[in-house]
Amino acid sequence: MVNWIKNDGPNSDVVISSRIRLARNIEGIPFPIIMDDKQAQQVVKIVKDAIFNSNTVLAGEFIDLEIDKLSDIDVQRLVEVHVVSPDLVKNRKRSAVLLRRDETVSIMINEEDHIRIQCLNTGFQLENVWDLADKVDDVIEENVKYAFDEQLGYLTCCPTNVGTGIRASVMLHLPALTITGYTKGMLQTISKIGLTVRGLYGEGTEVAGNMFQLSNQLTLGQSEEEIINNLTTVTHQLVDREWAARENIAKHDRYGLEDKIYRSYGILSNARKISSKEAMDLLSDVRMGVDMEILKEVDINTINQLMFDIQPASVQKLAGITDGAEQRDVARAEVIRQRLNKK
């Protein structure tokens, strides 16, 4: 089960989630890329103390995941539900993750930077998520001296993060814009205004499940608010266009649309073996059907949860099976059938 996905976020039809990540480093200690084990331990201790010994409600809300002791599959699962970044996994023997119990905040220690604060929630609520990240940052800063430069701002290991250290992103479900071919042009335009889009779950340039992640590319020279406003404006436009495209399809080819949605639902409800790519694509159709109130047999939360739970490590963990793609495809189909056929 993914905990954070259960929250009922605003405008969560097209925008699946909103996320803010802040990169911070401690002054006087080399970045993780070249630090030794002793320095790594020192950083872990400094950050843990800053959270657990703080005089705020935060202290009691976090747990130490003890990620160095978890199994590979458990760690992979955390990556799949977006609680931990893939980069942290590479370095996990000397990393640590402090997770808020509701999974909406994770503090990754010794990823690419000493500290990565990630706040994540459902739907379209970048400002709330930023407020939370800002507060967590303030709490840590009370006991930590950050590497900061008057001119350049927060100093980060990678120069693409320097300045605000912020990466704001939204995860978007854009099935109608993809069907109508609009995403092609859109994605190129977006890169010209300082934003980046990438397909999620895809192979190569292909996108599975019509899921896209939109985020800011630049971190220096704009304030956090400007960055978030910019992203918010573009997101609003995309949401509006996605809905216009959906309504357009419904108007011109109602039966075609219903047929596609119900066929996908039929396959998902009956398949005995399914890959994650196929499942993502079919879930995308079903999700659109639920959003458009065409398909009423299943609720949106079940679909949102499934999008995460059908990922490889998650399926393995849920089904309690060991490795093997075929076994996993069978287990995946079973998980989907159970959830969809549950009344």
């Binding site: 001296k145 430069d149 980060t156 630049l218 220096l220 994650s276 793609a325």
Partner: protein
């Protein structure tokens, strides 16, 4: 990093390939990627981070003089500018001081700007932080008033008063 296919040109396109649910990274140059049909016009498959080493590598003779001082070492972490070029990463916060001259044009190219205008840590900034933050909040306040977002404006005004040391109704810190 060189292209995996031709092993000659630098890899500028980075793909995540999923086969049987196993993820592998593929690094290609533009030409090979096109030949393999990996690129369609759908979207640019790379983030700016992946382009980093190319930012450091690009350049003709003019840049040789800037990047020529490879022997210079960061006194805090021991990184040289060669290390930075190789990894596309810095070794520590002090590297930004040590290699400032060489880094500025690169930052300008990556980020477009070279002047931070966002959040400032309270402890470091002190008075600078305070005046900057008050100015920033006042700008926000003007915008909120212009947009007739009065609830937000009231919040901002309280925040400004708080920073200016004037009393507001005492809610504890979060």
């Amino acid at each position: 990093m060189y292209c995996e296919k031709c092993k000659k040109r630098p890899a500028t396109l980075h793909f995540t390939k999923i086969v049987n649910d196993e993820k592998t990274e593929v690094h290609l140059c533009e030409q090979c990627a096109q030949e393999m049909g990996k690129v369609n016009t759908m979207f640019t498959p790379f983030s700016i981070t992946d382009l980093l080493s190319s930012f450091f590598e690009v350049g003709g003779e003019g840049q040789q003089t800037i990047y020529g001082q490879q022997a210079l070492k960061c006194p805090q972490c021991g990184f040289t500018f060669g290390d930075i070029k190789k990894t596309g990463r810095l070794g520590c916060g002090h590297c930004y001081v040590t290699f400032r001259e060489q880094l500025m044009p690169i930052l300008k190219r990556i980020q477009g700007r070279t002047e931070h205008s966002g959040k400032v840590p309270k402890k470091i900034g002190g008075q600078i932080w305070l005046s900057r933050e008050i100015k920033r909040l006042k700008d926000e306040l003007n915008k909120a008033v212009a947009e007739e977002a009065y609830e937000r404006a009231a919040q901002l005004r309280d925040k400004i008063r708080e920073l200016e040391g004037k009393p507001v109704d005492g809610q504890g810190r979060w």
